[in-house]
């Protein structure tokens, strides 16, 4: 198609000819381009005295054409562009046309390309004023981005993806940030916080969160008895923000995130230890109670154990709400299931169900994946059975995996014994996977004072997000009020048995 040394090229659907010296040729997005050809056309325009066209390479795969023109009289960028478009195919029209008073020359009369102004540094090419990084975090993030994206300058409101960021660069950027700050954010945080300003803010928040260890204030304002929500296998509590915002404005909400997220603390491997660690932190913040507990997914088991420990300590538990947790871990105590046990080694049981639903209804499971929450440390280690048959035994587990691994062990060896209280079970309407006990999710015999079942819209993940979260918030407001009232009633009218004991 292209003969070496020959500067003419014909396309199937129209003839384009190039002129000029071959050693000046450049290839831009697959097209060989001859800057001299463009210079020639520019100089034909009577409004232009002189012109130089150069290729700026700001990314390995991205080159762009820049025309520097010395106008003869007035300078009108649009007119020049229109003129070039009438003469050249669009990919040969320089995107940037910069006005100069004269073309800089070297001592031997050639164009001094190094003396041409860098368009990135010319204020007229920024559509808005660049906002320079101010805080230490912003400076760090901006320099990491500039380095990875091969840019000279990054404004703190530039969007990562608009700057040319893509997955490979995203992986690299988040790694550099982790190395320099010690904060490990999920790569998907870049979608939630795509500017230097927002990502730096997130990093600052992350440091605060780490200082709180497990207890995280989601919405600490309010005078009602605080609500404590225990994390699921996502480990963080970011997923509860939408719910927290939808509750009564006077309702304080705290989250409990997994211990070990900072990569320093060792995660616990018994449910009892996890629960008592969370309780310890709650007692520091709220020593007298009463306590309203919520546990999501894996967190439901932990909240259940916390409620029992609170009661043992003589503390009041207003409410124990379980968000779509399957309490049945009997598979791990069934000797016949040894084979399954081996198969789901390292896997939290729910993933097994997701895999099963894959066989039944692949498209809706895919859909489910689209709606998966972003912005959390996401352990989908075993999602869809994506573990290679023999994972190298010596491979280290990254710490989110390590925590879930410990929790998996904890869940497997935990013996569920009945709780002397009522349980509010929130069960999703859209069950994407198979359960042995779809009606009670294994809780019926565990709630000695009654199990209330509440059906909620969505599936195991999406019930926490718009639009479903509105329904959940309204229902939660109602249940929280009811449970708080019940406690008040009990206090005002002590039941006969406690009166008897008091006597």
């Amino acid at each position: 198609m292209y003969r070496t040394g020959d500067l003419a090229r014909s396309l199937k659907d129209g003839n384009i000819e190039y002129h000029g010296r071959i050693d000046d040729q450049v290839k831009i997005r697959g097209f060989r381009i001859e800057p001299a050809e463009i210079e020639f056309v520019l100089k034909q325009d009577r409004s232009i005295k002189d012109a130089v066209v150069v290729v700026s390479q700001d990314n390995d795969s991205d080159k762009k054409l820049i025309a520097y023109v010395v106008p003869d009289g007035g300078f009108n960028r649009d007119e020049i562009t229109n003129y070039l478009q009438s003469q050249l195919p669009s990919y040969m029209v320089p995107r940037l046309i910069i006005q100069l008073n004269r073309i800089p020359l070297t001592s031997n009369g050639k164009v001094d390309k190094r003396a041409l102004p860098d368009p990135d540094l010319l204020p007229e090419f920024g559509n808005r004023v660049a906002r320079n990084p101010e805080t230490e975090k912003q400076k760090l993030v901006a320099s990491i981005w500039a380095d990875a994206l091969k840019l000279k300058q990054v404004s703190i409101d530039d969007n990562f993806f608009e700057l040319g960021g893509h997955s490979l660069i995203a992986v690299k950027v988040m790694k550099s940030i982790e190395e320099k700050t010690g904060s490990r954010l999920p790569i998907s945080a870049l979608f939630e916080a795509p500017t230097v300003e927002k990502l730096s803010y997130l990093l600052e928040q992350d440091e605060k969160v780490i200082s709180w260890k497990s207890l995280v204030p989601i919405k600490p304002e309010g005078s009602k008895p605080p609500l404590y929500i225990v994390h699921g296998s996502g480990l963080t509590v970011l997923v509860f923000h939408a719910l927290a915002m939808g509750l009564d404005p006077d309702q304080p909400v705290y989250g409990l995130q997994a211990r070990g997220l900072n990569g320093i603390d060792e995660p616990f491997d018994t449910i009892e230890d996890i629960a008592s660690c969370y309780i310890e932190e709650i007692l520091e913040q709220n020593p007298h109670g009463p306590y309203s507990l919520v546990g999501y997914s894996f967190g439901g088991i932990v909240a259940f154990e916390m409620a029992k420990q609170f009661k043992t300590m003589g503390k009041e538990v207003n409410m124990l709400a379980i968000f779509d947790t399957n309490a049945d871990n009997s598979v791990f105590f069934d000797k016949k299931s040894t084979r399954i046990k081996k198969k789901i080694k390292r896997q939290f049981p729910k993933f097994r169900f997701i895999v099963q639903s894959f066989i039944k209804d692949p498209s809706s499971t895919m859909d489910y994946q689209f709606k998966l929450v972003k912005g959390k440390i996401n352990n989908l280690l075993s999602w869809a059975g994506i573990i290679q048959k023999e994972p190298d035994e010596d491979e280290h587990l990254v710490h989110a995996d390590k925590i879930n691994h410990s929790h998996d062990i904890a869940f497997r060896k935990y013996h569920m014994k009945p709780y002397n209280g009522t349980i509010d079970l929130f069960r999703v309407k859209n069950r994407m996977y198979y359960l042995d006990d779809p009606k009670y999710l294994g809780w019926k015999s565990l709630a000695l004072q009654g199990l209330n079942i509440h059906e909620i819209s969505g599936d195991h993940k999406t019930f926490l997000f718009a639009p479903n979260v509105q329904e959940l918030s309204l229902l939660m407001r109602k249940i929280i009020n009811e449970r708080n009232d019940e406690i008040r009633v009990r206090k005002d009218f002590p039941n006969p048995s406690s009166v008897l004991k008091a006597i």
């Binding site: 396309l11 659907d13 831009i28 997005r29 697959g30 097209f31 700001d58 990314n59 390995d60 795969s61 991205d62 762009k64 478009q85 009438s86 195919p89 840019l151 530039d158 969007n159 608009e162 700057l163 040319g164 893509h166 997955s167 490979l168 995203a170 992986v171 690299k172 988040m174 790694k175 999920p186 790569i187 998907s188 870049l190 979608f191 939630e192 198969k343 896997q347 097994r352 895999v355 894959f358 066989i359 692949p362 895919m366 994946q369 689209f370 972003k374 996401n378 989908l380 280690l381 075993s382 999602w383 869809a384 059975g385 994506i386 573990i387 290679q388 048959k389 994972p391 190298d392 491979e395």
Partner: protein
């Protein structure tokens, strides 16, 4: 037992037929140069997105990708290009929300090329321009298994080997709609069969040759029995002004 099979194929792009249909279990891959496009196929939101890219390369790739997907999907679905609607979930691959159909697509672009795959199944495609000076060490350590690491370090050109395996992992990530950079380590990428622990459907991951400067891979379920590769050079008629 369910498995993932990774392999490489030497392929050739054929001239596309004038009428496009997407038969069951057939996958079509389109190759389009990132210089060709038709911005009139973009809706106002997309034009706004295009205008915000800092670099021309990113802008061109976006415009080419979007206008080509619209044009091709309109041919498969026999509908006006602007009547096609896409999902817009941050960080997740877009899919066609309207009209409702079985047609799935996935798009990838890098450097001078845009690749678009169409089928009636979920699928993923990835192309990467091989950045010779890209420092791969940290990514390899974090996101590749020991076996993959030794394969890469033992290759005559580790960077090329890295991009080969990376595009395979990325294609699987996209096929399964997972977020970027998640669980890359657990996605198989070395040549051969990789058994899965559970009974999920089997998948294929195929690396295809483009030019020496690029690596590209497609991931698709094993129900796909035929792949056709179409040259998209004539997709947008060249308009001389």
């Amino acid at each position: 037992m369910a498995s993932i099979k990774c392999s490489s194929e030497s392929i050739q792009f054929e001239k596309p037929p004038s009428v496009l249909v997407n038969p069951k279990n057939e996958l079509h891959v389109w190759k389009i140069q990132a210089i060709q496009n038709d911005i009139s196929l973009l809706n106002e939101d997309e034009k706004e997105i295009a205008s915000r890219f800092r670099r021309d390369g990113d802008k061109f790739r976006f415009i080419t990708g979007r206008s080509a997907v619209r044009l091709l999907a309109s041919k498969y679905l026999q509908i006006d290009p602007l009547e096609i609607h896409f999902s817009n979930i941050k960080g997740k691959k877009p899919f066609i929300t309207e009209p409702v159909s079985q047609l799935k697509f996935n798009l990838s672009h890098s450097g001078g090329w845009v690749l678009i795959a169409f089928a009636n199944h979920e699928l993923g495609i990835d192309i990467e321009y091989i950045l010779d000076d890209f420092s791969i060490d940290e990514i390899v350590q974090d996101h590749f298994t020991k076996k993959e690491q030794s394969f890469i370090s033992g290759s005559s050109n580790p960077v090329v080997a890295f991009f080969n395996l990376w595009t395979r992992k990325e294609a699987l990530t996209k096929a399964w709609g997972m977020g970027i950079g998640e669980n890359l380590r657990n996605l198989p990428s070395l040549d051969g069969m990789h058994d899965l622990t559970t009974g999920m459907a089997s998948w294929h991951v195929v690396s295809i040759n483009l030019t020496e400067e690029y690596k590209a891979a497609i991931a698709f379920p094993s129900e796909i029995s035929n792949i056709r590769y179409f040259e998209g050079a004539d997709l947008f008629p060249y308009q001389s002004k």
